[in-house]
Structures are given as structure tokens and as C-alpha cells.
Symmetry: C2
DNA sequence: GGCTATATGTAGCGCGGCTACTTATAGACG
DNA sequence: CGTCTATAAGTAGCCGCGCTACATATAGCC
């Protein structure tokens, strides 16, 4: 998976991963690995700044906790984040429809 | 359609647009508009540099012609470009499968 | 002590799509 | 003729964001 492909879709992935549950950053990375069958292995330098952006945007909120001596910053969606997730999902659907149409429609399109 | 979403997928769109026919840059932009139902309206500052990148990469070749007093640079796929298009198509399929899985798999995934 | 896993974070790079602009011709309209 | 639109190609430079490469810290195992 070329890295550029994620551009503009990372927020959707993070919001979707937090949908209905609260996770800390490290767990989000693992959840993304699992949920993608190993295809997504996002570096911390990608995920942590992205989470802070989402928090600044008001899409998620975070709480600190300590589990087994290790500090965790646990994130969960806000209402605005839930709305943003819905928007991201429909934007994704529209996006794939458009690209699919162009990629497939070259030769064997019938009107 | 947010501009970032295209990142990393523009080459696929251009190659697919040139699949089985030869077009000049301006016509490619129009073909993309048509083929996407108006959703894609790429600025020339996006398309022309991208075509030159594809030519440097050996995926397309261009020929100059003059039609109605206007200069046209007409592009067509090379064999390498055709192969690249196939690769882009399967990469796209894989990409959408992965993202679809994460975006959809949040709550109602069953194993 | 050293290694791995867990956990969070930052500085700075690099690239590619976009904005804004330039150049040029044909044709329509008044 | 002057102006406007459509057609056609191009460049300079901005900007955002995912990535690389670090730094930091604790728990647990050998």
C-alpha cells in the first residue's frame, strides 16, 4: 500500500476505529492492523499527530489513565465526531463510486 | 470532493482515461468530467504536470499536432503504461477493500 | 544488564495536488 | 475594431499531511 493513498482518508479510519468504543493511541494502531487484515500498519508518527488534530477539531476527546504503570491517553468520539464520521463515510462512498466509474468505465461502459 | 482525497490516485485516473484511446490534455480533463458525472473538475495545474510526470516515467508518450490553428499535445499509453494501469487498478481494488473493511467493520462485523 | 513489548510524543522532510498566473488562437457579437 | 468566451498548454510556488527518525519511559522476562 503506497503511503500517499491514505491522504485524506486517515481521519475516516481513526473515527471509524473509535466508533462505539474508546481506545488509546497504541490500541488504535493495533485495531487498525487487525481490522485491515494486516494491511494497515500505521507508524506512531502518523497516528499521534492525527489524533491531536482530531482533538483540536473537536471530533474526539481524550482522558489520561494509568494501567499497569503505563500512561494511556484514551480517546472517544464526540457528537461532532460522530457526525464527522457519518460525513466521512458518505464522502468515501461517493469517492469510490466516482473513481470506480472512471477506472472501470474506460472500455466496457454501456452508456 | 476534498482535494486531498485524490492524492495517489490521480495517475490511475489519467491512465484509465487514456486506456484504448489517445487524447490531449484538455480533452482528458473533459473526459474526466464526463466520465465522473461532473464530480471531477481537475485544474490544468493538476493535470498537465501529472502528464509530464507520467511521460518521464515512461507510462505515456506524446505527439504534437495542430488542429484548427491550436497546438495539441496528444498522449497515449505505452506498454509500460498499460501494465501500470493494471497495477493501479488492482491496487485500487485492494485499497478500497481495506478501507471499506475498516469503515464498515466497526460495529456490525461478524468475525 | 539487556531485550522486547507497551505507550506517547516531536522535529522536520518530501511530495504532489492546488491556486494563480501567463501565453496563444479561433470565433462570436456588437 | 474591441471584447469576450472557448480551446489549449504551461509554470511558480504554496500548503498540508503522512512519513522517517528520533527521544522518552515503564514492565517483565532471561
Amino acid at each position: 500500500m503506497k503511503p500517499d493513498a491514505l491522504r485524506g482518508h486517515l481521519d475516516a479510519l481513526l473515527l471509524a476505529t473509535l466508533d462505539g468504543r474508546q481506545l488509546h493511541g497504541y490500541a488504535i494502531i493495533e485495531a487498525l492492523q487487525e481490522g485491515s487484515g494486516g494491511a494497515l500498519d500505521l507508524p506512531t508518527g502518523t497516528v499521534y499527530p492525527a489524533l491531536r488534530r482530531l482533538e483540536r477539531a473537536g471530533h474526539v476527546v481524550s482522558d489520561w489513565s494509568t494501567v499497569g504503570g503505563r500512561k494511556r491517553r484514551t480517546y472517544k468520539l464526540t457528537q461532532a465526531g460522530q457526525r464527522a464520521l457519518n460525513a466521512e463515510r458518505s464522502a468515501w462512498r461517493e469517492f469510490t463510486t466516482v473513481i470506480d466509474g472512471v477506472l472501470g468505465g474506460g472500455k466496457w461502459a454501456q452508456t
